[in-house]
Each structure stands twice: as structure tokens, then as C-alpha cells.
Symmetry: C2
Subunit: 248 residues, 2 copies
Amino acid sequence: MITKSQLRFYASLKDGKARAGSGLFLAEGHKIVREGLKSSCPCEIAFVREGHFGDDEETDRLLSNRKVEVLGEEEFRKLSLTEHPQGILGVFDYRSLIVTAPGAQEIVALFDLADPRNMGTIIRSADWFGLHEFIVGESCVDIFNEKVVRSTMGSVFHSRFVLATDLARELAALRPGYRIVTADLGGVDYRDRKRGGKTALVFSNEARGPSEAILAVTDEVITIPGGGQAESLNVSCAAAIIMAGIRP
Amino acid sequence: MITKSQLRFYASLKDGKARAGSGLFLAEGHKIVREGLKSSCPCEIAFVREGHFGDDEETDRLLSNRKVEVLGEEEFRKLSLTEHPQGILGVFDYRSLIVTAPGAQEIVALFDLADPRNMGTIIRSADWFGLHEFIVGESCVDIFNEKVVRSTMGSVFHSRFVLATDLARELAALRPGYRIVTADLGGVDYRDRKRGGKTALVFSNEARGPSEAILAVTDEVITIPGGGQAESLNVSCAAAIIMAGIRP
């Protein structure tokens, strides 16, 4: 049986400071918790709402060897961050998802992304295209914010993250092993970019764009030509288009 | 001076029924109101918060020949739907954006899209790529819902909409003039789709996909090949990738 103070602690993980202090984060909903339980990311505890078992066979099976606590409606609500909770929530240890350096052929760097849904959606699209390594800039929203986690639809568990304290310096250190390719206005058509070698694709806040420091370490600026009247693309759409376009 | 009952009426436009009854909708924020004022869409009235004038030169200029009402903070909040209002809001007549039949070379049809942000983002991306005609299916969220409007970043004013009461029938009626190309799993690679002629691109709810009736009137199913572990792409990202890919 879980104590009130333990419950308070888990509920505190909605807050970034509590996450940073403990290395734990909350993931909510069937699909996302299932992806977590199928991954190598340690699940400290899962919470289900009374009457939840039997809702979803696969979830039940994945929970069968885990530490699970059944909560009443009211207690569950204290942990939940959704308006209409599905009744399942996992506490995972994000430290297993953190790496100190990237290694993949194509990696994604995120600069100044404040919107959790855009951030999560980029991680989900990257996962679709087989890109699993990210460098997350210092001014981005926390990857383990539950809105980000939810928007990844579980892809957060398939990914690895470098948490940069100075993204421009981090990118500089990757050169010349990696080619730094930054999405911005006024660059070359992304379809004509140079191919081959390791690449770090940099996506920035759509309103403010990349900083001078990021541009200073950029090898190639790429652009998605439009032709319509919109001033910009949503950053998660722009990232999806570019990630789709880099494949052979 | 505006009366309380008029203010109540404009606030009621947050609700779909009031919009349908009047043909009016709310658009909030500098960028979006500016796009509306620059467009041919009639602006019935604009509201600014006390002290707002001078915030943005272009907005001030665009408002100079319009019917504008200045509201106190509290009254403005009654109309506003954002947490941190920018202090400007326009009431526009959406009937000027409605058409009975599409005519463009490439059009977009939306099926069963419930999420306002996805809907708005698709309209914004389409605008970026010069696609401005939409057929909106009966089970989609209302285009003039303020969350949709906000996510379009003003592109709603550059677009024209057919509001379908039966999308499958509407698409059937477009054949064979238009080729119906539907995004779904298990189709041909979108990069290999047949080219030429008029095309209606159909995007559906990512969880449920297109209906049997939609598939029955589909000429070609297209798919975005992945290779990663994500189960699906966000629909606004999928739409962006496909719209980017249809250009020469």
C-alpha cells in the first residue's frame, strides 16, 4: 500500500525540478505506458485506476510482473495530467535515456523549442524515420514534461538524448565528424543539400529562428521552399518534411 | 459604445452553434487579425484592450478605417480565449470563405479530424505550399473554432472551404475530374504516386484512418514509408510531408 507522502512525491514529478532531483518522470495513457514497459527504460512503479484491469489485454500482460498500485478515482486524479484519464500511469527513470554524446549517422538537434507538443511531435516523427538521437538545447522545454511525453506517443522510450547546456558549443564539438545542417529561411533547397557523412539536423523556434551562435557553427543552411502565402511552417511540420527528405 | 448584450453575443461566438447561426467567428492575436484585415474577408468589428494601440504599428494602420471598440481588461477577457491575450480580437464573416465546389489543381480533403491544432496546422502548411482549397468532412472539428483559427496563423483567411455533409459522396462527385489520393497505411510510396491531372489529397484521423466509404471512392492510396519504431505519424506532419512531396 502506498502512503500519502509517496503519492505526493509522485505527483510532484509534474514539476521539472522534482524530475531533475529524482531522475523520474510520469508517462500516462495506454499506448505510452506500453511503449515504456516494452522498452529498456526502468519503470519504478505503475498506477492504475480502480477497475482499470481488463481494459486492455496487452497493457495487463505488460504490467503482470511489475510493481503496480491500484488507486481510487480521486487519488488517481492527483497524479494524472489529462482531463479524461485513461486510468494508467507509469513512473519511469529517464536517466537510462540520457547519453553524453551522439553516435548515429543522422542526429537531430533542437534549439529554443518552447512548445511541448511541437517537441514531442518531432521526436515521434524522427522515430518514424529511424532517427533516435537528439541533442536538446538549453532553452528547450523539458523532454520529460508530460505534454512532451504524451505527444511522442511513446517514441520518447525509443530515443536517446544529450541534454546540452550550450547547444552551439555542443554542435561545434561535433565538427568536423558531423556536418551541421540548420533549417532556416534563405538557405539552399533541402532537396539539394549535400549528401553523405554524419549529419546533425538543427531545428529551431519558428518565430525566432536559430541564434547567431548556432549559425556560426552551421555548415549548411537548408530551407523548405513554399510558394504560398503563409509566413512560416510549424516547426514540427518543417522537421517532418526535412527528415522525410533526407532518406535515400 | 457597445452594449452588454452585444458583448454577450460576440462572446457566444466561441460556441459552434452561435457561429453557424450568424456566420461570424472570432480571430485573436496580432498576426491572425492582421491577416484577416488584409484579406477580403469582411471584419464586422474589432476589439482592442485598453492601452493596446501603439503596440504594433502595422495592426494600428490596418485598424484605422475599421469599426473598432476599446474594451477594459475584464470585458476583453470575456471575449478572449487565450490565457495571455495579446489584446486584439476580430469578428469576421466566414461565409466569404465558403465555396460550394473546388476548382484548383490540387485540393485537400479532411476526414474525421477532431484535433483543432492538427486541423489548423494542416491549413497553415497547405498555405505554405500554395494549396488553398479544402473539403472539410462532416466529422471534423469546426474550421472556425478559435483553436483551429489560431493554429492556422492566419492562413484560414487565404483559404476556401467546402463544408461537406457527406465527404465520401462529395469526393465521388469530383471523379473523374479529380483523382482521389488518400493517405493511409499499406499504399504506394507517396513519392511514386501517379502525377498529372487534378488531385484531391485526403487526410484522415491518424488513429482511425479513412472510412470504407472514403476508400471506396479512392483512386490511389499513398503511404509515407518509415523504417523506425513509431506506429504512426502525427496527421499534420504526414500531410506536410505529402504536400511537400507533390511539388515538381
